[in-house]
Symmetry: C2
Subunit: 366 residues, 2 copies
C-alpha cells in the first residue's frame, strides 16, 4: 500500500510542500484541469505536471481523473472521436510513466451532497447527503452546484443535457459503458496502464439519472465487460460504504484479494444516518459506520501494493478551502492509516510466530 494524497495543482490552497511533510507520504494524485473534457492531453503538459510533483520529492502516482465526455456516456455518434482521444491520452500518460488512471461513468453530475458545511458536535464541518433534502432539489433550476461538478455543459446548458439523458436507462448506460471500455482497453493493455473506474457517489440514481457502478453485483458485471488485469476499479469505501447494503470489506477481499483488480484505494469513513443518507465523518472507525481496521487488513492480507489515499476530510481547525479536500483532516486520516498498517503488519508477523510455536507444541503433544 503506497500512501498518496490528492492535490489540485498550483491553484490548490493545499501546498504540495505541506503534503510532503505528512509522515509516510509517497505520491500525488492529480490531473490537468484546464484541458476541455474530451480533448487529448498533450505529452508536454503531462511532463510539466509530473515535474511539478517530482521536484518536491514525491511521485505522480495516479491521474484522477481523465474525465469521460458526456457523448460517450450518451452513446452519441461523436463518441468514437472522443474514445480515440481518450486512447491518445492514455498513450501520452504512459509515455510519461504514469500507469494508473482513475475515471468515473456518472451521467452529468459527479459526487453529490445536500450540505457541504454540516456542523458536527465538535465544531468541525463535513459534507453530508440527506435524502429528503436532495429529493426537494432540482439542479436544472440552478439550485445546486457542487465543486466536483464539471459545469461546462456546452451551448445548450444543463437543461439540454438532462433532456438528452431522458432515454438513457441503466441498461443503455451499461451498453455505452461497454462500448467505451472495449474502445479503450486494447490501448490500456498495450500501454500497461491500469484503468480504475470510480464507483458512483452516492451509489444510487439521482435526479432521475441512472447510476450503475454501485454495488458488488454491478462491479462484478463491470469487470466482466472486458476481462483484463488492466480493467479495474478504484475501491472507494466512502462511496460504496454509505449504504448498509454494501459490504466494502467483502468487496476488497473479492475484487482485490481474489481478482487483483483494485488498482487504487480511496479510504474514507461515513456515518450512515438513514437508508440513503450519510455524514462524512473523521476516518477513525468509532466516528462512523465503517471498520477501518477490517478495511486496511483486507488490503494487507493480499499484499496490495497499489496506491491509496485518504479521501474527503472534515474541515477542522478553522481551515477553509475546497470542501472535503482540506489538508488537515485528510492528513489525520493518512497517519491514522499509518498506525493501522504498521500494527496489522507487525501483529501478523508476531501471530505467525505464535501459530508456528502452537502447531509445533501440538505436534509434539500429538
Amino acid at each position: 500500500m503506497e500512501m498518496t494524497f490528492r492535490w489540485y495543482g498550483q491553484d490548490d490552497p493545499v501546498k504540495i510542500e505541506y503534503i510532503r511533510q505528512i509522515p509516510g507520504m509517497k505520491g500525488i494524485v492529480t490531473a490537468i484541469y484546464d484541458i476541455p473534457v474530451g480533448e487529448v492531453w498533450p505529452l508536454e503538459k503531462i511532463m510539466e505536471l509530473k515535474e511539478s510533483v517530482e521536484k518536491h520529492g514525491l511521485e505522480l502516482s495516479v491521474i484522477e481523473s481523465v474525465p469521460v465526455h458526456e457523448d460517450i456516456k450518451l452513446g452519441l455518434p461523436t463518441r468514437d472521436k472522443y474514445i480515440a482521444n481518450y486512447c491518445e491520452t492514455i498513450r501520452n500518460l504512459s509515455k510519461a510513466g504514469i500507469k494508473t488512471i482513475c475515471y468515473n461513468f456518472m451521467p452529468v453530475f459527479d459526487w453529490t451532497r445536500s450540505d457541504l458545511e454540516y456542523e458536527l458536535e465538535d465544531g468541525s464541518t463535513c459534507l453530508i447527503y440527506d435524502e429528503a433534502t436532495v429529493a426537494k432539489m432540482d439542479p436544472a433550476l440552478g439550485e445546486l452546484e457542487l465543486p466536483g461538478w464539471d459545469t461546462s455543459y456546452g451551448e445548450g446548458g444543463l437543461g439540454a443535457l438532462l433532456d438528452q439523458y431522458k432515454d438513457i436507462d441503466e441498461e443503455k448506460l451499461w451498453a455505452n459503458l461497454e462500448y467505451f471500455i472495449k474502445g479503450i482497453m486494447p490501448t490500456a493493455e498495450e500501454e500497461e496502464v491500469k484503468m480504475a473506474i470510480h464507483p458512483d457517489d452516492p451509489p444510487w440514481g439521482i435526479f432521475g439519472l441512472p447510476r450503475i457502478i454501485t454495488n458488488f453485483e454491478n462491479l462484478d458485471r463491470f469487470l466482466n465487460l472486458y476481462d483484463s488485469h488492466y480493467n479495474g476499479v478504484t475501491l472507494c469505501t466512502g462511496s460504496l460504504g454509505c449504504t448498509k447494503t454494501n459490504d466494502v470489506v467483502k468487496m476488497i477481499k473479492h475484487f482485490g484479494g481474489e481478482r487483483n483488480r483494485i488498482h487504487f484505494a480511496h479510504l474514507r469513513n461515513v456515518l450512515i444516518t438513514g437508508d440513503s443518507s450519510f455524514n462524512e465523518v473523521a476516518h477513525l472507525s468509532e466516528a462512523g459506520s465503517l471498520d477501518f481496521h477490517a478495511i486496511v487488513k483486507a488490503y494487507l492480507d493480499y499484499n496490495f501494493d497499489g496506491p491509496y489515499r485518504p479521501d474527503h476530510g472534515r474541515m477542522i481547525w478553522g481551515e477553509t478551502g475546497r470542501p472535503g479536500y482540506g489538508l488537515y483532516d485528510r492528513a489525520l486520516g493518512a497517519v491514522y492509516v499509518n498506525g493501522l498498517k504498521e500494527a496489522i503488519l507487525k501483529e501478523n508477523s508476531l501471530k505467525s510466530e505464535c501459530e508456528e510455536s502452537l502447531l509445533e507444541g501440538a505436534s509434539v503433544q500429538g
Copy 2:
C-alpha cells in the same frame, strides 16, 4: 489508554476548540502558569482552570506540572515550608477531582536542546540535541534560554543558583529527592492522588548538574524510595528513549505491566544520531529509533487505563508557536496512535480466536 493533549491555557496559540476536533481526544493536560514556584495553588484558581477545560467537552486529566522549588532539590532548610505548600496544592487539586500530577526533579534546567528549529529533509523543523554543540554552551553566560525553563532564579540570578549546586552530586540529589517524596507521599496517598515523576530530559547530567531519573535502575531505585501505588512515574519514551542504553518497551512492561506504577504516558519518537545526540522526529516508527507499535502494545498488553499524550511534534505546514508544542504534528502523532491502538486491540481479539481454534484442533488431533 485515555488520549490527552497538553494545552498551555488561554495564552496557548493552540486553541482548545481545535484540540477537541482531534478524533478520539478525551482530556487536557495543563497547569496554572502564573503562580510562583513553591506557592500553594488556591482551590478557586484550580476550579477556574478545570471549568475552562470542561466547558469544551474535555476532561482535565493531568496537571503537568506542579513544579518543585529549587530549595527542595538543594535540600535547604526552607524546603519544609515548600513541601508543606506542595502538600496543600495536592489537597486542593484532589478536592477539584484532579488525581494525577506530573512533576520533575531536574536541577535548574528543564528539557534542554541545542537547536529548536533544525530543518529536516521535508522542510519541517524539529528540536534536536547535539552533544558537541551543548558541550560548547555555558548557560551562566546567558547564551541559552529554552521555553521549558523557569527563569525566575530569584535575586542572585542563574550564576548564584548554579553556585549553590556545586556541592550537590547525584547521591545528595537522591537524598533530597527521598526527603521530598517522604514529605509528600502520605498526603498523596490520603488524597489518592497519583504522583508521576517525569524522567530527566535528556537523561544525563548537563552543565555539570546531576540528573538521576535517567534509566531502568534509577527508576527502580526511585520507586523503592517510597513503596506506594501513588508514587509513580510519567513514562516519557522521548526522554528515556534518546539513548540506546535505555529500552523503553522493557521499562513499560516492568514499571507498568508488572508494578502498575506508570500513571501517565508521554509518546514521542526520537532519531538517535549519536551516543548523546538525537533529533525529535515524526511519531511514525520508521521516522525514528523507537518502535511505536511495540510501545503501544506494551501498554495495551496490561490494559493501561491511564492518560497518555502525544509529546513534542515537529513544526509543519508553516505553523509557528511554542517549540515542540504546535497543534499539527502532535495531532498527527495522536491519530497515528489511534490507528496502532485500534489495530492491536482488534488483532489481539482475532488472535485469541485463532489460538482457541488451533488449540481445539490440536486437542482433537491429539
